[in-house]
Amino acid sequence: MSEAGRTRTIRTDYLARVEGEGAMFVKLDGDEVLDVKLRIYEPPRFFEALLRGRAFTEAPDITSRICGICPVAYQMSAVRAMEDACGVAIDDGPIRDLRRLIYCAEWIESHSLHVYMLHAPDFLGYSGAVEMARDHREIVEQGLAMKKAGNALLALVGGREVHPINIRVGGFYRAPTRAELHTMTEPLERARETALATVRWAATLTFPDVEREPELVALCDPGAYPVDRGRIVSDGGMDIAPAQFDEHVAEEHVEHSNALHARLRHGGTYLTGPLARYALSGGELWPLAREAAREAGLERVCHNPFKSILVRGVELVQACDEALAIIAAYEQPDAPAVEVEPRRAVGHGATEAPRGLLYHRYEIDEDGTILDAKIVPPTSQNQLAIEEDLRAVVQHHLDLPDEQLTLRCEQAIRNHDPCISCATHFLSLEIDRG
């Protein structure tokens, strides 16, 4: 092949089906991948600045605005961090159960959206959910019905579907009654059935043969699948309290991105999210979810990022199952919240957003004014791992024509459900076969 024949450039200006937008650049020289860059334009620094000088009680509502898909995750990391600062721990009882319940609702909502509307079209060969819906109406309706159950539960506990207004430092403004929660039993039972069907269906998909082994990092909460609390643990032997996050994770400025790239100080690239949670806490899944994983052929650790769709399916089963159990056992608390008195301190909060570990740190003064805030979203943490996935995927599929290679790259990015609007606004994609 002539030199000119090897020189190709592909550019798409907009990567659909990723929350928010950013940019990706791949540079090839013949069969060699020279460079892969994922550009994220805008970290949540605006929100950190906005938080300074505000009351500690305002952090949940302000940070919930960072992401339209996972507001509860931001609220939960915020309330945990503020309670940590104020010396309050809500680790048992109905308030904690309600928190876990609303978090389950967000997982159901977010995972349904991702599995059916964003990820499934990649596997079935459609450019998006709209095209897929024309041929596979039932599949799309299934996803929408499950998502609706998550939304309804979120609206019931949170007071509103998007940016729930009922969550506060110390608990909730109002606790739902037993009767209110029981209206969700039937929809959630149907959602659980759909989730099981989702795993069975996802197991029939064809997965590219790609194996990746970044260090896997997730919360571990012995006795539970990690959602709302825990130590930060890795398969490389890290086991730290959320307060030690900064000692172990370095955020670096990189030239091609305004965002900070997170890296483990002792190792380097790491991955958070469903694959990490499943690898580190798969043993904590309840029998129904565990059996679904086994039937789907998932091994104890899944190294293929394309199979994250299966793990999300398994987590959907788990979230529905747990939500039903919490509702069945629920007793309305006497008070919907505990009083939290501010004091001068630094607090840390880490929870599992649907797309991975979400860390908040706040410094507050004695009257509760926020002096400093730091927010590290899962997508910032996963950026390096996504770049390395892209490098592997491109290397593996060099023979594909540019158009298909571009689609494969988009799919590789979507494997990790990046919530890029947490950090950015545009994603364009460019392959340079210079």
Binding site: E19, F46, G128, A129, V130, R134, L144, K148
Partner: protein
């Protein structure tokens, strides 16, 4: 009985402001919804705000005969330009809203998804307001602020006309 028919009418037209409150001009749809809530509510027109991903719109307009959507646009026109698209029978042009969306699925895609699934209200009108700033931050640009009042009035007129249309089409059916 008269009250029942009024109730039915109340559910027939919904106005939805879409956007992100903390991304400057992307908030214009929400701002219009806020300006309209009381005025339109008094006339039985439901006004909603949608800040998250757009698939949720399918549930929000589920009961409606007609929907008016208001969102920010980024098509290259001058900031403050107002685009009106009747999406009842054809898609919203992709370049109008798509690239400005911070949502996982844009409202243009939500409309097409609903169309494919037979879940689109009988009438769909989209107002896109050309924005200038979409980065994180609070407050509309001057050009956007300047047209917000006029836009709110236009959206209300449109919603009223759709209520009349909805009433009329129900009479024809009965």
């Amino acid at each position: 009985m008269a009250e029942t028919s009024l109730q039915q009418r109340r559910a027939s037209v919904v106005v939805i402001g879409v956007g992100n409150a903390l991304r400057h001009d992307d908030a214009v749809g929400l701002e219009v919804a806020r300006r309209l809530r009381e005025r339109a509510g008094a006339e039985g027109i439901e006004v909603l705000e949608q800040e998250g991903e757009a698939i949720a719109l399918l549930d929000m307009w589920e009961q409606a005969d007609a929907v008016v959507l208001v969102d920010a646009a980024r098509s290259g026109s001058a900031p403050g330009t107002i685009h009106r698209v009747d999406a009842t029978f054809e898609p919203v042009p992709a370049q109008l809203l798509g690239s400005s969306s911070t949502h996982a699925v844009g409202i243009d895609e939500a409309i097409e998804l609903a169309r494919a699934l037979g879940r689109l209200p009988a009438r769909v009108v989209v107002y896109g307001v050309e924005g200038r700033r979409f980065e994180a931050g609070i407050g509309l640009s001057e050009e956007i602020e300047a047209v917000a009042g006029w836009l709110a009035d236009s959206v209300l007129r449109e919603a009223r006309a759709l209520v009349d249309w909805s009433e009329g089409s129900k009479k024809c059916m009965s």
